[in-house]
Symmetry: C2
Subunit: 365 residues, 2 copies
Amino acid sequence: MPDSVTFAIIGATGAVGREALAILAQRAHPVDHIRAITSDRSAGTQIPYAGSALTAEEFDADQLADVDCALLCTDATTSRRVAPCLVQQGVLVIDNSSAFRHDPRVPLVIPEINAAELQPESTIIANPNCSTIILLLATHPLRAAFGLREIVVSTYQAVSGAGLAAIDELRRQTHAALESRVLSHHVFPQPCAFNVFPHESTFDPATGFNGEEQKIISESRRILADPSLSIMPNCVRVPVERAHSQSILVTLEQPATLQQVRACLAAAPGLRWIDDQTAPTSPTPQQATGIDPVLVGRVRRADAGPDESSQRFMLWVCGDQLRKGAALNALQIADLALNLRARSPRALPRALDRPHAHLPTPIEN
Amino acid sequence: MPDSVTFAIIGATGAVGREALAILAQRAHPVDHIRAITSDRSAGTQIPYAGSALTAEEFDADQLADVDCALLCTDATTSRRVAPCLVQQGVLVIDNSSAFRHDPRVPLVIPEINAAELQPESTIIANPNCSTIILLLATHPLRAAFGLREIVVSTYQAVSGAGLAAIDELRRQTHAALESRVLSHHVFPQPCAFNVFPHESTFDPATGFNGEEQKIISESRRILADPSLSIMPNCVRVPVERAHSQSILVTLEQPATLQQVRACLAAAPGLRWIDDQTAPTSPTPQQATGIDPVLVGRVRRADAGPDESSQRFMLWVCGDQLRKGAALNALQIADLALNLRARSPRALPRALDRPHAHLPTPIEN
């Protein structure tokens, strides 16, 4: 990404916003090409950045016309409110919330999988749910090579998906538990210290799936352009700070050998294959924390028939949900989409000429 | 169980031994009908019991002839050494280790499922692996009602399965982590504080499964007398003290409605069904800690076809691995087996007449 690009991080003091700034700092993106937008009460505070500091600003779209790309690290309600204002200013919007993920006019993109969905005239691009990104990064290569009939996935999700307040709740509750005190819970519906519990997202009484599980199903089907793909998720919170783990069983269309499956995963972009023969108790979410690649290990045949090949394989995957599961994926989208815009100079005016034509209708997910 | 029965708890100061004493105390079993056997270095110490105390003794089979039933809360090596000595004294042995679980002469029993395996002349009875007990308690009722084609299970296992030292490691490591200190790990191959990791049991390079997963497969097939049952386990440790959780997908032989599956589980012995419509984020391992029943909730159809019935259902199960997963199941076996012995007075002399005929050959699991 050229230094001359100006980013606005909307929600710069949240868990994902902080991670986006950390990645930009690692890339040595110049401080005067970053705008840090926060809630009103944080405006004016200094946010450390690469040995320097950013001054937090209130959101005012009129003041952001010089911004090339805004990363919305906000909740869905805020995203729905601010995205159209930014689009009207000609700003490319990458939204990390669920607000636009099922709008057919908004691409939902994991760059390693469906970068082709990006168009020069895209004005809003949706970043998928963190669990979906991690799941598909590990299973899409197998789908491309052997076809994919079915995914069964049980998640072990870090608390950071519920924001910085959740990390704080985990730490304070754990501290209390070690002293045999019980600290009440506010962020989560269950105690998170030394406990695990079904994901807290909205429960659908009709299907019995919670919101996180529904996102995995619907977003995976959209990203893979396979509306009938069978996905059976069970989403669970664990007392881990920021990387998600997943126990995955895939059923392939074509039989494959273990060597073929391992080679496929070892060559896949964004993934790092861990050899279980030398590291049978890896990967772990701590190993995945703070790094770009999603780790995949314990690759094995689920059935032990006499034939060498199988259609069913088990995987154990760990990925940093704040990084590849959120901020990194969003910045990778930004890189690609800004390049597309740069190579297609008429795209921006087109979006500005017809500002309302490109404003997606907010939908719930 | 009559008060006159005398129990010996072999390994009385370990995690399972302590739990067995706690259950006996809840049953108000008289203190003078319990013998607490520990390692040599603990001998002579006082072990609190129901407002009184037990004096820890070294193992000496000759001093245990008055014992009716010994609970072996020991590792497999110790169990192989002491079980034959106890059998020669006429003591009924319930072994919690893996030492005898695949000996065809030793019943492997979950009382709610295969109590019929117990025989009046049984001298050693094996208690199954904790994950196996919890898994089968939830899936056997469905198998009995609808047939069972396949089980996919991902575990979220408490550290207590690795003993009291593991609980201590979890607590000390967590305390250090909260102070941004790193405490090295001794019991586990990975840090357990704010982390999850593949189960630490012996890895089989040929299949890629670890020991815990192999136990679930082989013990489930033996207990259900279904040597070809398809079971695909992934076993993971989580930073929880003592109850295990499991994310389960079952494929039934016969289609069933959600109502039929829920009713089946709600009526099953040893299980407590949690209605997800009122408690969508339950059960949790904390809720399952210290209680007898295994909790099952989030019962839902895995596929959302047009038909009301399905062959595939997802479950979320939490059970106290020290209680139903170990000490409680062992004591339930003891109750049944001692009753069988009492009703069949010739069984005991028979065992004594031919002491060596009933000594199982130790095998590995």
